[in-house]
Amino acid sequence: MVGSIPNMNLAVLVPALPLLGFLITGLAYKRLKHNQAGIIASIAVGLSFLISVALFFMLRNSGQNSATVTLFNWIALGNMNIPFAFLIDHLSLTMMLIITGVGTLIHIYSIGYMHGDDRVNSFFAQMNLFTFSMLLLVMGANYLVLFIGWEGVGLCSYLLIGFWFKNPAYNYAARKAFVMNRIGDVGFILGIILLFYTFKSVSFSEIFTQAATLQVGAPVITLITLLLLVGAVGKSAQIPLYTWLPDAMAGPTPVSALIHAATMVTAGIYMIARSSILYNLAPITLNVIIVIGMATATFAAIIGLKQNDIKKVLAYSTVSQLGYMFLALGLGAYSTGVFHVTTHAFFKALLFLGAGSVIHAMGGEQDIRKMGGLRKKMPITYITFLAATLAISGIPPFSGFFSKDMILSKALEHNILLYILALGTALITCFYMFRLLYLVFFGEQRMSGAHPHESPKVMTVPLMILSVLSVFGGFLNIPSLFGGNLSFSNYLDSAVVSKSSEEIGHTTEIGMIFLSVVLLVVIIYWAYQTYVRKAQIPSGDEVKQTPLQRIITNKFYINEIYQTAFEKPFGLLSNFLFKKVESIILGPAVDEVGTITSKLGDLTRKLQRGNISFYLFAMVAGILLFVVFILTN
């Protein structure tokens, strides 16, 4: 496994540069003027991207599949030896390129978006810290380094969601994200402990070598994979731990693009793809993943239909797309899942940045009912947003089509019911995305007071680059039907072990694509009729709705259910413990210990009279007592 490729130690610089950027912008945040912090942070991530590209070519030219770069021996206790090492292989390189590439664009965009904020320097420091943690997460050569990155991104997510901390609601959202992630992390760390207990190692290469000797469906491996899955469910916002992600939209929009769409939320998918060998041994867990992924995809898409906040729509869409990725993982098509991570990173980052551009132009307004007609005012944002909408809807030949089509065909191979659900979700996705597009960019202007304008170049250029990626990103992985050779999936195959399954025939595939394209066009036309021709505007909260509509508008009351089922009982229990246990039993008990100690002190301090002769006498008497004691025993 260990390759000796010259200059591979360059990999250390990839996370080191954002760390350096964080230290510079973080320590000197009071002195940096104007855009300095943004420029430093962008350069740090940009250089990381260039180095990642260099590493990509170095690994390809070396003819090896992976290389390990060990920094130092981190924990050495008896037989346990955990090095602080990076694993550079095809999977981690893919993730590194996404994180640093999309990250650079978002950093540059943020220079424009955050311009004029008083804490802009802290913002860039935290963004760089996030990039560093995320790189640690994907580059770590063992589960412990991965875990550091895992916790680091959780912290940065918390900090950046609550970036505008003067608003209590935003603080609440940040806290909610943190607590929800904690629940997942407990499972994750238990999984790592069980891994260590079983394999006596946390390093990927050793665990995967040893796992080959285990039986398929062994109870211990099922338990490990389920525990790791709990962590992934928390981080990647799946049912039942997804409610934090829509609330996380409280953070600045570039944060939503970078952390809550393109990178951090895909950490769970990365981790499962990385552990593909373990998951292949646990068919039960894979079925659980299929159920969770499919349920989340459909459920979140339905909620997305009735949202009126531009960022909330995108947030539910992210949850739904993450569900798709989980579905791919559950079907054993890990490389397909990672491919969807890649295309999703392009078009969802673009959607969020486009939404940010709109919000910026509208002076902070996020309600799509108060927008409309922005097509003429913001042509660049409109075109790029349209490209991303077509990509996420899965219209050929945009990038989302290829990744979504591959997931759909995998679902069809597995089970016709899954295929129908997945296709239905894709159609719902298409509808709410075009609803969003039409309401924001078409029709009459419904805003009052605001004078929308196109965003500055520093914001539109990243949009343009991302739109090129969203349009052409799918060509990385052209299926054999179109004369391609699935180069992206094949590239990943050295790092993840996908389950082989029967390929569906080309005729079926053509029929499938034809069916979905026809249905998508119908849906787009329907949305056009509803929101452009008839110019329907989603009604306000005061208008009466049918019960089903009301349930969807209120997001199936999941937040309320969680509040009644978990928050309230917990609050009551805490209150009871505070009033009955803390104030009546524990508090006085602790006080009593203090009182007794000080009373004893009052008694014994009389011995300390300051008389040296007495001290000497006591000392000699003590020594004599000891001698007598030792001699008599």
Binding site: R605, Q608, G610, N611, I612, S613, F617
Partner: protein, 109 residues
């Protein structure tokens, strides 16, 4: 070297032990019952040296020079300790104009 060792061994070991115990007890009693700080310091020296003598005697009887090396270390430490002790004594004389140890009773709560 061998001559010295054999010369020491002319006197039986018990005699060294008795002598040292006597010297140590005299020193200890002096420390406990005298009030003059100078005399207390001298008695401490007496205890030190009785132990030194015992170590040297045992060392000679065991033909192990390590003990005698120890004696030199103890002497050096004792010299340093006396330097500190005497300077405290000088300060005491200046402050309370006496060397009576019972006057130093301010080291209390």
């Amino acid at each position: 070297m061998q001559d010295i060792t054999s010369a020491i061994q002319i006197i039986p070991l018990e005699h060294y032990v008795f002598l040292c115990v006597t010297l140590f007890s005299i020193g200890l009693l002096g420390v406990l019952f005298r009030r003059n700080t100078i005399i207390i310091l001298m008695c401490i020296e007496l205890m030190f040296n009785s132990v030194n003598l015992l170590v040297a005697a045992f060392s000679a009887y065991h033909s192990d020079p390590a003990g005698q090396v120890f004696v030199f270390f103890i002497m050096i430490v004792a010299a340093a300790e006396v330097a500190v002790g005497l300077s405290i004594l000088v300060m005491m004389k200046r402050n309370v104009d006496s060397v009576d140890i019972n006057l130093l009773n301010r080291l209390k709560w």
